[in-house]
Every structure is written in structure tokens, then in C-alpha cells.
């Protein structure tokens, strides 16, 4: 190894070079610190605004509270929690996101298994069709599905939104899980088959346990995607089935007078995705790396 060589080179660096390096280091730290502050301030600002009364918010900016901490109050959140319409939309978000995530994971892993380990005619063509669908913009489906839902009475229902999210989550789910499932050692599969295990037993006993990391990645990704969606819900839900993103969006029309509702509502809507994000960040990154061109 060249480790001794390395230490000799290090020993040679002159004092001046070291000072330069230290300055360089300081500069990088400073630049990144400034960037980090710029990135954080907008969010912190809105958070502080959510802790101030609407009167304070209409008279001065959130930074006023830095010198007058007496302005801080939890009233906005208390009002929001007792606002049945807003809490209803919050509940709708959960009712849409959880099933849409679970269904994509279940249906996606079934199909992913079929595409990776079952042999049937037309497999490659079907898989190619799924790959093509990866990039289909949601917009293509809005008008046709709106009229379809209108005809079969799903328009405005939570079920309609869930089905839409599942369908548009599936191409990526199948793509991601198939790629992962094919990496399961063939010997393992063949052994299980020779043991006489049914395809279902192999799927549930071998593939699913081994595929957990990929399934977790997909689940986190889909969860955040659906939780944060506004466009699909904007079209397919109504006042009683709308999720929190649509509720906030409709408040934006009177922006200014209602910054208390907007800021606290936005924060309440962010809490769960942020927890999920920080807790499972690694899996989320894996899903992104798997190539998310949607």
C-alpha cells in the first residue's frame, strides 16, 4: 500500500500551504453555511408566522417575533385542530395516501414477481409497455378519467383518487421491484421450485422477505408522492373528499387575510411527510436512484 508514501507527502506540505488550506476550508464552511441559511429561512419564517396571531401577521413580518417573543402563541394550531373542515381534509389525505401506498406495493410486487420469475407469452412486450408508461404524464388521463368517473359515479369519491394514484404509481413500482427481484439468486428459486413450493409460496416466502428493502423504498416514495399530490385531487375530489393540499390551495385565493390558517395548515400538512422523510431517508434516496423519471 502507498500509505507510507502518503504520509511523507503530507509531511512535506509547508506552513503557508497549510494556512492556505485552512483558509480554503474556512471559505467552504462559510459558503455552505450561508447556503444552508438561505435554504432554511423561508421555512423557519413560515413556521414563526404560524405561531403569531393574524393581527400581528398583518402588521409586521415574522422576524418581529424574534425581538418580541411574547407574540408567539399556539392559537392558530388550536383553531385549526377544532376546524372540522380542515381536519376533515387532513383525514382525507390519510384515507387516500395509506390505501394508495399499500395497493401499489401489493399489486406492484405481484406483477414484479410475474415479470421477473414467471414465464408466459408476450412477457417482454408487456414489460416494454410498462416501461413506456413510466413517462406518461398524468395530464393525459385527467380528461378521460374525469368523464369515465362521471359515468360510473366515482367522481368526487376518495376511491377514484386512490385508483388513479395506484395506476400511475404502478409502472414505477413494477420497474423498481422487477429489477430488484431479478437479482434474487436463481439457485434459490430453482431449489424452492424443486421442493415443490407453489409460486405463491415462493413469492410470499422467498421473494417478499428478500425484496423488503426495495419494497420499503417504493412504499416511502409512493407515500410522499400521494401525500403531496394536489393536481389529481384538485380534479377528482369535492369539498368533502378533498385532501389537505387542496384545502390549503383554496385558502390561497384570499392570501393575506388568512396567513394564520395558511401557515399553520401548511405546517400541519408537512409534519408527517417530514417524519417519514427523516426516518426513512435512505430508502427514499434508493427509490430516487432507481431512476424516477415521472
Amino acid at each position: 500500500m502507498s500509505v507510507p508514501g502518503l504520509t511523507i507527502v503530507k509531511g512535506k506540505t509547508s506552513g503557508a500551504a497549510r494556512i492556505l488550506q485552512f483558509l480554503n476550508h474556512g471559505l467552504v464552511n462559510l459558503v455552505l453555511a450561508i447556503v444552508a441559511i438561505f435554504w432554511l429561512v423561508p421555512t423557519i419564517g413560515l413556521f414563526i408566522a404560524s405561531l403569531r396571531s393574524s393581527t400581528d401577521n398583518s402588521q409586521s413580518g415574522w422576524w418581529d417575533a424574534l425581538t418580541k417573543p411574547a407574540q408567539l402563541t399556539l392559537d392558530n394550531y388550536a383553531n385549526l385542530l377544532s376546524n372540522s373542515q380542515f381536519m376533515g381534509s387532513f383525514w382525507n389525505t390519510i384515507m387516500i395516501t395509506v390505501p394508495a401506498t399499500v395497493l401499489v406495493v401489493v399489486i406492484g410486487s405481484l406483477a414484479g414477481y410475474a415479470f421477473s420469475w414467471l414465464k408466459f407469452p408476450g412477457r417482454d412486450w408487456l414489460l416494454l409497455a410498462v416501461i413506456v408508461m413510466l413517462a406518461v404524464p398524468v395530464q393525459l388521463a385527467l380528461i378521460p378519467i374525469a368523464s369515465l368517473y362521471g359515468k360510473i359515479g366515482l367522481f368526487g369519491s376518495i376511491i377514484g383518487v386512490i385508483l388513479f394514484h395506484v395506476a400511475f404509481g404502478l409502472p414505477f413500482a413494477i420497474f423498481l421491484l422487477r429489477n430488484f427481484f431479478t437479482q434474487v439468486p436463481g439457485e434459490l428459486m430453482e431449489a424452492a421450485r424443486l421442493d415443490g413450493a407453489s409460486e405463491w409460496r415462493i413469492f410470499s416466502g422467498v421473494i417478499l422477505p428478500l425484496g423488503m428493502p426495495a419494497i420499503a423504498s417504493l412504499g416511502i416514495f409512493q407515500f410522499l408522492w400521494v401525500w403531496n399530490d394536489m393536481l389529481v385531487a384538485l380534479i377528482f375530489t369535492n369539498a368533502t373528499s378533498q385532501p389537505v393540499t387542496v384545502a390549503i390551495q383554496s385558502q390561497l385565493r384570499q392570501f393575506g387575510a388568512n396567513i394564520d390558517v395558511l401557515s399553520s395548515g401548511a405546517f400541519l400538512s408537512m409534519i408527517i411527510p417530514l417524519i417519514v422523510f427523516f426516518a426513512f431517508q435512505r430508502y427514499f434516496v434508493t427509490a430516487l436512484l432507481a431512476g424516477s423519471q415521472r
Binding site: V9, V28, V31, L32, V35, W39, V41, P42, T43, G45, L46, S58, G61, L110, A111, A114, F115, W117, L118, K119, F120, P121, L126, A129, V130, I131, V132, A135, P137, Q139, A141, I143, I145, L163, F164, V166, A167, L170, G186, L188, E190, A191, R193, L194, N228, L231, I235, T245, I248, Q249, L252, L262, S263, S269, P273, L274, F278, Q281, G291, Q293
Partner: protein, 450 residues
């Protein structure tokens, strides 16, 4: 156990091919595994694509065949044309900005001890909804400098560094030989050195008169090479006093710039008024001058930029997009960096190559596959941008900020009620992402053939 058995066939599913009975049942099993996905994809993805293409050839009612009429309308209708134009701006600006920032962050992040904290801060916006991000940016970029953080910062910087006009909106007292033209307040006739020229002004808010202002006094007769006089607020609270004459507690206006302008329009002398409003411009040659209070004394103060107005709103929305997606680029590039074999860089450094050279000659070329993936992903993402553009602009500037996806929503659901044109816009989006579909398919084929 089973693994001890020497396998007669290659691993994989070829075993099934040699045993026809199992293969037939395998078809049914495969159908069982695939059915839910294929039904959903067929009904909710494949059918709509075909329907949309067909629908885009018909008019709003869906009865009359237009051929490509909607596609022509798209480029002639000012609303949709603005949308297409804005989408071009988005595609040109946003992906490259995110990728470059992501690259810079990823490379610099390597050099600090708090890299994980930095990464989380920059990456965090990816977790929140674009609606929440929109609320954040709408609040930050409000025009009122008392409420919007960005304008608050700009106003306080401009107050600290630039000369503030002291008396916005001031006007001359009429019939005193001075008039206001184009903002400047100037004498009607020329003045010769040795003379006194007064400027009684009105329409100044009491709050704009500084505390240091003293009662206005009549200027002493100037020397033969000077013009002197007084600038004062020719107004007594509660009435009284003589118009055009100082006294009765009228306040002088300190800090007003006064200029002597010769017949060719050149400024030959300047002075600034004292606390009692007096000024004296000295060192003037014999001649006649127009005495002027330049417009800068009376300009309205800087009150922040109209960020969400028609001109700048797209820039703000793109900024919010960069705020969200630079973290994506950074994380993708950072993982490319960490997967990289660093021995080449080490060798180059030992050979005395500068950090910049190491980066441009070795690191960046090795990273280029990752950079291209990030860049292409962002382009596709930007083409379909909807939420931010729908949420951030106030209603008055939405028509100037609109993009294809927003316009598609507006014409088909948001009041336009023309689902023919809406379908055509959706198909336009499909056409725009076609290259990425082809790339996906090609990449898939290569993977399979390997």
C-alpha cells in the same frame, strides 16, 4: 437440503419450458399475478392516452371533428402560447440551475464536517408538498416590505447604502417664480451670482421633516460669486403665516441638494441645505444660472420589488423549484461521487495538480453519466410542472406565469371547458416526453441483452 442437489438446468425459469403441462398452468398463475396491475394500467393509463389523442381532434363539444385545429389554436391563442413560451423558459433555466447547484453542493459538502446536516437541510424541501412550498414562497416574496422577508431585506439594504430622497412628493408653492418640470423644481428665470433665490415648498408630510430641522431663516446676502437662499416647508400647522415667506415657525428643510445650471444645461455648482434650510452655492463665474432642486430630492423611496407581479413571477416560481430540486440533484450526484474510485484523483494530486484541475479533468468527466441522468430527469419533471405555478402567483399574474400543464387544467377544468384543446395540450406534453420514453426503452433493451 435442496441446495445440495446439482441442478440439471441453468438457473432461471427455463425448467418450465421443458415441461409443457406446468407451463400451461403457469400461464394461469402468471395471469393471476398480473391481472390487478394490467387491469388498472389498461383502464387508467393506456385507454386514456388513446382517448386523449382521439379527443384532441374534436372541438369543445366533442361533436365536430377539427383535425389538427386544436394544435393550431395552441400556438395562436395568446393564453396557450404564453404557456408554451414559459415552458421553454422553464426547460432552459431550471434543470441546468438545479444540476449546477447540486454539483457544487455535492462537491463542497465533501469538505466539511457537518455534511450530513447540510445534506438534510438542502434535501428537506423534497419531502414537503409543492403547495406548502408555494405558501412558503408566496409569503417570503410578498411585496409589502413590512411582511415579505425578501423585500424587507432589500429595503433595509437600500436604506443603509443609498441616498434616500428626503421629501417624496414635494411641490413648489405657486406664483413664487419656481415650477416643477419632470420632477426637478427650478427657477422660471435665470439668477445671477449675488442674488438670493428661495424655494418655498408644500405637500411634504410632517413625518418626512427630520427632527434636526430648525425654523427657516432668510439667507444672508451672498458674495458676488455665490447664489444663496432658503428651502423651507411653506406651511404652518393650523394656518397663519404669509405664503412665500419664512417665519411663523415654518421649518427649514435640511439635506436638499441645490444645483446651479448654466445656459448650456451643465451643472456648475452644488450645495446642500443646512438645518435651517439655507444654502449657498459659491465659486460661480459671472453670468446667469437656473437654480434647480433635482428630482432625486423628491423621488418616492424604494419600497421593494414587485416579485409576484407579471414580470418577475416566473423567476420567483423557478427559484422555488430550484429550492426543492437542487437537493435531488445534490443527493444523486453525491451518491455518484461516493461510488467513484478516488485513486485517480489522489494520483493527480500527488502529481501536483490543482483542485480545480482535478475537478474539471477527472471528477466531472467521471460524473457525466450521473449528471446526464439528473439533467434529463429534471427536464421531464419541469415539462410537467403544475403545482408551483398554480399556487404561487396571485390571480392577477397567473396568466403571465402559466405553463402547459396549468393551461391544460385551465382550459379543460378551470372555466375554459374546452376539453378538445385541453386534450391537445396533454398530447403536446406526451410528445415532449417522447424522447425520454425512447431512452427508457432503449436502456431497458440494453439491460436485457447484457
Amino acid at each position: 437440503m435442496a441446495t445440495d442437489i446439482v441442478l440439471p438446468v441453468e438457473p432461471g425459469t427455463e425448467a418450465g419450458e421443458k415441461r409443457p403441462p406446468r407451463r400451461r398452468s403457469g400461464l394461469w398463475i402468471a395471469a393471476g399475478f398480473l391481472a390487478p396491475a394490467l387491469v388498472l394500467l389498461g383502464v387508467l393509463v393506456a385507454y386514456p392516452v388513446i382517448y386523449s389523442i382521439w379527443r384532441s381532434l374534436y372541438d369543445a363539444s366533442g361533436q365536430n371533428f377539427l383535425g389538427l385545429g386544436n394544435y393550431v389554436t395552441m400556438f395562436t391563442d395568446p393564453g396557450t402560447f404564453t404557456a408554451i413560451k414559459n415552458n421553454v423558459i422553464w426547460v432552459v433555466v431550471a434543470p441546468i440551475t438545479c444540476t449546477i447547484l447540486g454539483l457544487i453542493f455535492a462537491v463542497l459538502m465533501d469538505k466539511v464536517k457537518w455534511a450530513i446536516a447540510f445534506k438534510l437541510i438542502i434535501f428537506m424541501p423534497m419531502a414537503i408538498s409543492m403547495v406548502a412550498a408555494g405558501v412558503i414562497f408566496r409569503t417570503t416574496f410578498q411585496e409589502n416590505p413590512n411582511l415579505g422577508a425578501v423585500n424587507a431585506g432589500l429595503v433595509s439594504i437600500s436604506k443603509a447604502f443609498s441616498h434616500q430622497s428626503a421629501y417624496p412628493g414635494a411641490r413648489p408653492r405657486t406664483q413664487e417664480g419656481i415650477t416643477q418640470t419632470g420632477g426637478d423644481i427650478a427657477t422660471d428665470s435665470t439668477v445671477s451670482p449675488g442674488a438670493v433665490q428661495n424655494f418655498p415648498l408644500i405637500a411634504i408630510k410632517p413625518a418626512d421633516v427630520p427632527g434636526s430641522a430648525k425654523d427657516a431663516v432668510v439667507a444672508k446676502n451672498p458674495a458676488s460669486d455665490a447664489i444663496a437662499g432658503t428651502v423651507w416647508l411653506d406651511f404652518v400647522r393650523g394656518g397663519g403665516g404669509t405664503n412665500g415667506e419664512p417665519g411663523d415657525g415654518k421649518k427649514g428643510l435640511p439635506g436638499v441638494k441645490v444645483e446651479a445650471v448654466d445656459s448650456s444645461g451643465k451643472v456648475v455648482g452644488t450645495a446642500t441645505t443646512a438645518d435651517d434650510g439655507t444654502y449657498a452655492i459659491s465659486g460661480l463665474a459671472k453670468g446667469s444660472y437656473t437654480v434647480t432642486l433635482p428630482a432625486s430630492n423628491f423621488a418616492p423611496p424604494f419600497n421593494g420589488v414587485s416579485w409576484l407581479g407579471p414580470q418577475l413571477v416566473t423567476a420567483v416560481i423557478i427559484l422555488s423549484y430550484v429550492w426543492i430540486w437542487a437537493g435531488f440533484a445534490m443527493v444523486m450526484i453525491a451518491s455518484g461521487l461516493s461510488a467513484m474510485d478516488r485513486s485517480l484523483q489522489e494520483a493527480a494530486r500527488m502529481d501536483g495538480a490543482s483542485e480545480w484541475k482535478v475537478f474539471t479533468r477527472i471528477t466531472a468527466p467521471l460524473l457525466s453519466p450521473v449528471l446526464i441522468v439528473v439533467f434529463v430527469t429534471l427536464i421531464i419533471n419541469v415539462l410537467k410542472i403544475f403545482d408551483l405555478v398554480y399556487v404561487i402567483p396571485p390571480p392577477s399574474s397567473l396568466p403571465d406565469a402559466t405553463v402547459i400543464a396549468v393551461q391544460m387544467w385551465t382550459v379543460s377544468f378551470g372555466g375554459g371547458n374546452n376539453q378538445g384543446l385541453g386534450s391537445a395540450l396533454a398530447v403536446l406534453l406526451l410528445i415532449l416526453v417522447l424522447p425520454s420514453m425512447i431512452i427508457n426503452v432503449r436502456r431497458f433493451r440494453e439491460d436485457r441483452d447484457r
